[in-house]
C-alpha cells in the first residue's frame, strides 16, 4: 500500500513545476500560495511514511514491468529507512523555504519561474531518494543539479552569474565522473538495478574494474557534496543564490545528491572495502578541518555559513566512515551502529540549523541590503526575531546543550573514542570549538556591538519570514528528543540499519 505512494514524490513536484510556469503568469499569487501547500502535503506524507516504515523496504515497479526469471527489466523505485528519512528532510525544508519565499521573492521579477525551478529541484532530489536504478539516479541527480545551477544565477548580477558558471563547470565535471562510473559498473555487471547489482558485487572480492568505478564515483560525489579538495565551488554558489535557495542548497542538496548517493553506493552497492572506508574517512576529516579554518576568516555572512557547511558535512562523513571501517574490520557492530547513527543524526540536524542560519542571513540581507558583517551591528533590538532565532541556530550548530547539535556531536565523539580513533575525537572537539568561535563572531558583529553608520532598520522582516524562522528554531530544540531510545529506534535506526544491512 505504501509503495504506491513513492511515484507521487516525483510526479507532484514535477507536475507543479510546469503548471506554475504557465499558471503563474495568468493567475496572480498562484505560485506563492500553491507551492508551499504542495510541499506541506509532501512533507506530511513522508512523515507518515517514516512513522510506519520500520525495517521494511518498499518496492514499486514503474509501468508494472515485473522481473523476468528473477532479472529485473524495468525501472524500480525503492525506499528503505534512509530514503524515507531523506524524503522527510527534503520536503520539510522545501516547505519552510517556499513559505519563507512568500515575502522574500518580492525583490525579484518573474517569481513564477523561481517557484518552477524550485519544484524541479525538489522533484530531482526526491527522485534520487526513491530510485532503485543507478542510471535513473543519474538522471534525477542532473534534474536537481541543472535546476540549482539556474537558481544560483536567478538574480543575474555579476557575482551570481560568475558563481553559477563556476558551479556548472565543476558540477558538470562531477556528473561526468559519475556517468563514467555508472558506465563502468554496467560494463562489469550487466545490470543497472541496485538490488541486483548488490547481489553480484556484494560477495565477490572487487575486481580492478569495480575499484576504478569506485574511484570515479568517489570523485564525482565528492565534487557534488563539496568535500575538500573538491570544495571550491560551494562558497561562491551557496553565497550568491537567493537565501531560501541557499538554505535548500546547503541544507538539502549537498546531502541528497552528494552524501546520500555516496553512502548508497559505498555501503549498499559495493562490498565495503577497507581502502574506500579509509578514503572516505580521510575526506571527511580534511573537510571538517579545512572548512572550519576557512570559515573563521570570512566577513561575508553567507560565505561564513557556506564554509561552515563544508566543515559540518565533514563531521557526517567522518563519523559514517568510522562506522564503515569497523564494518570492514569486523569490529563491534554496536559501535559501528553508534558511529553511523551519529553521522545520520548530525545530517538531519544540520539540515535544520543550517537552513535556519541561511534564512537569518537572508532576513539581514532583506532589510540591510548587505551581507558584510562589518556594515552590520546592534541589530538585536531592531530585529528581535531574527536575532533570537539565529542565536538558537548558532548555539545548536556549535554544540551547546540542550540543542540538537550538541547530542549529535557528542555521539560522534563518543563513537570515535570507543572505536579507538582518539586522534579523530580530539580533532572533532577542536573543530567544535572553532565552530563556536566563528558563530560567536557572527553574533557579535551582526546583532551586538555598536550600530553601523547606515542606521538600523525600522522593523523586523514580514510575517512569513518571521514565522518560518521561529518554526525552524523550535525544530532545532525539538530534534534533540531524537536522542531518546524509543524515538531513536522509531525514526533514525531504520536508516542506520538500511546502511548496516548492506542490502537494498
Amino acid at each position: 500500500m505504501m509503495e504506491a505512494l513513492l511515484p507521487l514524490f516525483v510526479v507532484i513536484p514535477l507536475g507543479f513545476a510546469f503548471i506554475t510556469a504557465v499558471a503563474g503568469r495568468y493567475i496572480p499569487q498562484f505560485h506563492r500560495i500553491a507551492i508551499p501547500l504542495v510541499f506541506l502535503f509532501l512533507a506530511g506524507l513522508s512523515a507518515w511514511m517514516m512513522a510506519n516504515i520500520r525495517e521494511n523496504i518498499l518496492l514499486y515497479m514503474v509501468g508494472g514491468w515485473e522481473p523476468v526469471n528473477g532479472i529485473p527489466i524495468g525501472i524500480h523505485l525503492s525506499a528503505d529507512g534512509l530514503s524515507v528519512l531523506l524524503l522527510v528532510i527534503i520536503n520539510t525544508l522545501a516547505f519552510f523555504s517556499a513559505f519563507y519565499s512568500y515575502a522574500y521573492i518580492e525583490q525579484y521579477t518573474s517569481g513564477q519561474y523561481f517557484y518552477a525551478l524550485f519544484c524541479l529541484m525538489v522533484a530531482g532530489m526526491n527522485g534520487v531518494a526513491v530510485t532503485g536504478d543507478i542510471f535513473n539516479l543519474y538522471v534525477f541527480l542532473e534534474i536537481a543539479a541543472i535546476a540549482s545551477y539556474a537558481l544560483v544565477a536567478f538574480g543575474t548580477k555579476k557575482e551570481e552569474l560568475e558563481a553559477s558558471f563556476k558551479y556548472q563547470v565543476l558540477g558538470g565535471l562531477g556528473s561526468l565522473f559519475i556517468l563514467f562510473g555508472i558506465g563502468v559498473l554496467y560494463w562489469a555487471t550487466g545490470t543497472l538495478n541496485m538490488a541486483d547489482m548488490h547481489k553480484l558485487l556484494g560477495s565477490a572480492p572487487a575486481s580492478p574494474g569495480i575499484v576504478f568505478a569506485g574511484v570515479l564515483l568517489l570523485a564525482g560525489f565528492g565534487i557534488k557534496s563539496a568535500m575538500v579538495p573538491f570544495h571550491s565551488w560551494l562558497p561562491d554558489a551557496h553565497s550568491s543564490a537567493p537565501s531560501p535557495i541557499s538554505a535548500m542548497l546547503s541544507g538539502v542538496l549537498i546531502k541528497a545528491i552528494g552524501i546520500y548517493c555516496l553512502f548508497r553506493f559505498f555501503f549498499n552497492l559495493f562490498a565495503v572495502s577497507v581502502q574506500f572506508a579509509y578514503g572516505i574517512t580521510t575526506l571527511g576529516v580534511i573537510s571538517m578541518l579545512v572548512g572550519g579554518f576557512l570559515a573563521i576568516n570570512q566577513w561575508d555572512t553567507k560565505r561564513l555559513l557556506a564554509y561552515s557547511s563544508i566543515s559540518q558535512m565533514g563531521y557526517v562523513v567522518m563519523s559514517t566512515g568510522i562506522g564503515m571501517i569497523l564494518l570492514c574490520r569486523g569490529g563491534d557492530m554496536k559501535i559501528a551502529a553508534l558511529a553511523i547513527f551519529g553521522g545520520v543524526y548530525h545530517l538531519v540536524n544540520h539540515a535544520f540549523f543550517k537552513g535556519l542560519l541561511f534564512l537569518n542571513a537572508g532576513a539581514l540581507e532583506y532589510r540591510l541590503q548587505t551581507r558584510d558583517l562589518l556594515k552590520m551591528g546592534g541589530l538585536a533590538h531592531a530585529m528581535p526575531v531574527t536575532s533570537a532565532t539565529s542565536l538558537v541556530a548558532s548555539m545548536a550548530i556549535s554544540g551547546i546543550p540542550p540543542f540538537n547539535g550538541f547530542f549529535s556531536k557528542l555521539i560522534i565523539i563518543i563513537a570515535a573514542v570507543r572505536a579507538g580513533f582518539y586522534g579523530l575525537a580530539i580533532l572533532a572537539v577542536i573543530v567544535s570549538i572553532i565552530t563556536l568561535a566563528y558563530y560567536l563572531k557572527f553574533q557579535r558583529y551582526a546583532f551586538y556591538g555598536k550600530p553601523s553608520e547606515s542606521g538600523l532598520p525600522e522593523k523586523d522582516v514580514p510575517f512569513s519570514m518571521k514565522g518560518t524562522m521561529i518554526l525552524l528554531a523550535l525544530c532545532c530544540l525539538l530534534l534533540s528528543v531524537l536522542v531518546f531510545p524509543s524515538l531513536r529506534n522509531l525514526f533514525l535506526m531504520p536508516a542506520v540499519h538500511a546502511l548496516m544491512n548492506m542490502t537494498l
Binding site: 539556474a150 556548472q168 561526468l176 558506465g183 570570512q298
Partner: protein
C-alpha cells in the same frame, strides 16, 4: 581494446581542457568533448561483434546475435541532459560577456576566497 583506450584519452583531453583553458567558450567545448567521449564509451560497451540491430524484423525470426540496446537508450537520455547543460552554460556565458565584455576567466573575478 584500442578503441576503449582512445575513448579514455578523449576523456582526458576534455579534462585537460577544462582545467587549463582560460576562455569560457573553450571550457564549454572541453566539457562537451568529455561528454562525447562518454557517449562513445557507452556505445562501445553495448557493441557485440557481428551483432544485428535488436529489432524483430519478421514475426518468429529472432536474430542470433544482437547488440545490447540498453546503453543506446541510456546514451540518448544522456545526450538530452548534455544538451540542457550546454545550453544553460552558453546562456550564462553570454550574460557574463554582456556584464564583463570579455570571455577571459582572469577578467571575471568579482568573487574571491
Amino acid at each position: 581494446m584500442v578503441l576503449f583506450v582512445m575513448c579514455f584519452l578523449l576523456f582526458l583531453v576534455g579534462l585537460y581542457g577544462v582545467l587549463t583553458r582560460r576562455n569560457l567558450i573553450k571550457i564549454i567545448i572541453a566539457l562537451s568533448i568529455m561528454e562525447y567521449s562518454l557517449n562513445l564509451f557507452f556505445i562501445l560497451i553495448g557493441y557485440v561483434k557481428g551483432g544485428e540491430i535488436p529489432i524483430l524484423k519478421k514475426a518468429g525470426t529472432v536474430p542470433a546475435v544482437v547488440v545490447d540496446p540498453l546503453p543506446q537508450a541510456m546514451i540518448l537520455t544522456a545526450i538530452v541532459i548534455g544538451l540542457a547543460t550546454t545550453a544553460l552554460l552558453l546562456a550564462i556565458a553570454i550574460r557574463l560577456y554582456r556584464k564583463y565584455k570579455t570571455f577571459d576567466v582572469s577578467g571575471i573575478n568579482a568573487l574571491k576566497g
